[in-house]
């Protein structure tokens, strides 16, 4: 039976492989929610292709704006694919350490 330590190493390596593969092979098509937004705006038929320059968020009326440090899993357009790899690896590491830390904190002092 695989030790917990081995399981973690396999899990982390697998996550990094999936994340880095995603940078090069993920689909550029809008997701289900964005496709629905394009559909209800009349920019896309239900089963047809999505427009190249469609703006899914045009339908929104919100006023809140937030600038994320690594928008859309990139380090900006200039950084290109290496920047995207760094961004997704950073996200995986932050998820791993962040969730570990919160779980530790949540169980701290448990009898």
């Amino acid at each position: 039976m695989m030790e917990i330590r081995q399981l973690i190493i396999v899990g982390v390596v697998l996550s990094l492989l999936i994340g880095v593969t995603a940078v090069f092979f993920a689909s550029g098509d809008p997701d289900g929610l964005e496709s629905t937004a394009l559909f209800v705006q009349g920019e896309k038929t239900l089963t047809g292709e999505s427009p190249e320059d469609g703006d899914a968020e045009a339908i929104g009326a919100g006023t809140f704006e937030y600038e994320a440090p690594m928008p859309d899993y990139t380090l900006g357009e200039d950084a290109g694919k290496p920047g995207e790899v760094l961004a997704v690896v950073a996200g995986i590491v932050i998820a791993l350490i962040g969730v570990f830390a919160v779980a530790k904190a949540a169980t701290a002092g448990k009898a």
Partner: protein, 213 residues
């Protein structure tokens, strides 16, 4: 399925945050009572894996792509819908604040859809289907498909209340796309459960009280 800030007015977004915070408090209570030294690393690895898989948009035809949500997977592997709330909340916080994927004001709604609804539907459908179907992997796959579709339909109702999507076209489109995306959700959930069962079957059957005492 990540709702952006522009899609829900702030007043409604606050209501979703209040509901989400109740479930987050319950998820923290679950973590305190159910997590132990063996499970904490597994929870962290699951979160890393879900983050990676959520970054991987797979084409599903109809000009659309989709990725795993992972709520059902977390709930089934860790034996509680609150595990999904715990992990998905943290993943959504990282995605929203660092990568701009999913809004900040609407994060409560995203936590409700992808953590609470996907976790509860996934967990209880799996419990019900496991005995009826006989295969835990097939049961997990179907439960995960249901979790994806029902969470998407809930999102479309929220966006109707927000005045962003019309009700029927929104339900039809969200339902259609996520019925297809749910196949990815179901397949990955079934395969992941099989892999974990193969290498560490004890994790899934671990009687928490016995281990933690």
């Amino acid at each position: 399925m990540h709702i952006p800030d522009a899609f829900i007015p702030i007043g409604q977004a606050i209501v979703y945050w209040v509901v989400a915070l109740i479930f987050i408090a319950l998820a923290l209570r679950w973590a305190r009572t159910d997590l132990n030294e063996d499970k904490i690393p597994l929870v962290a690895v699951l979160a890393a894996g879900i983050f990676a898989l959520q970054a991987f948009n797979l084409p599903i035809a109809m000009g659309t792509s989709g990725h795993l949500v992972g709520g059902a997977l977390c709930a089934i592997v860790l034996g509680s819908p609150y595990a999904a709330v715990f992990i998905l909340t943290l993943v959504l916080i990282i995605q929203g604040f660092i990568f701009g994927d999913g809004g900040i004001t609407v994060m409560g709604a995203n936590i409700i859809n992808m953590g609470v609804i996907s976790g509860f539907v996934g967990f209880y459908s799996y419990q019900g289907l496991k005995g009826a179907i006989g295969s835990p992997y097939a049961a997990a796959g179907i439960a995960a498909w249901l979790a994806c579709v029902i969470a998407a339909l809930a999102a479309s109702v929220e966006l109707f209340i927000a005045g962003t999507f019309p009700l029927v076209p929104g339900l039809i489109a969200m339902g259609t796309y996520h019925a297809a995306i749910g196949i990815i959700e179901g397949a990955i959930t079934g395969i992941a459960l099989y892999l974990i069962m193969t290498v560490r079957p004890d994790i899934l059957e671990m009687p928490t009280e016995a281990v933690s005492s």
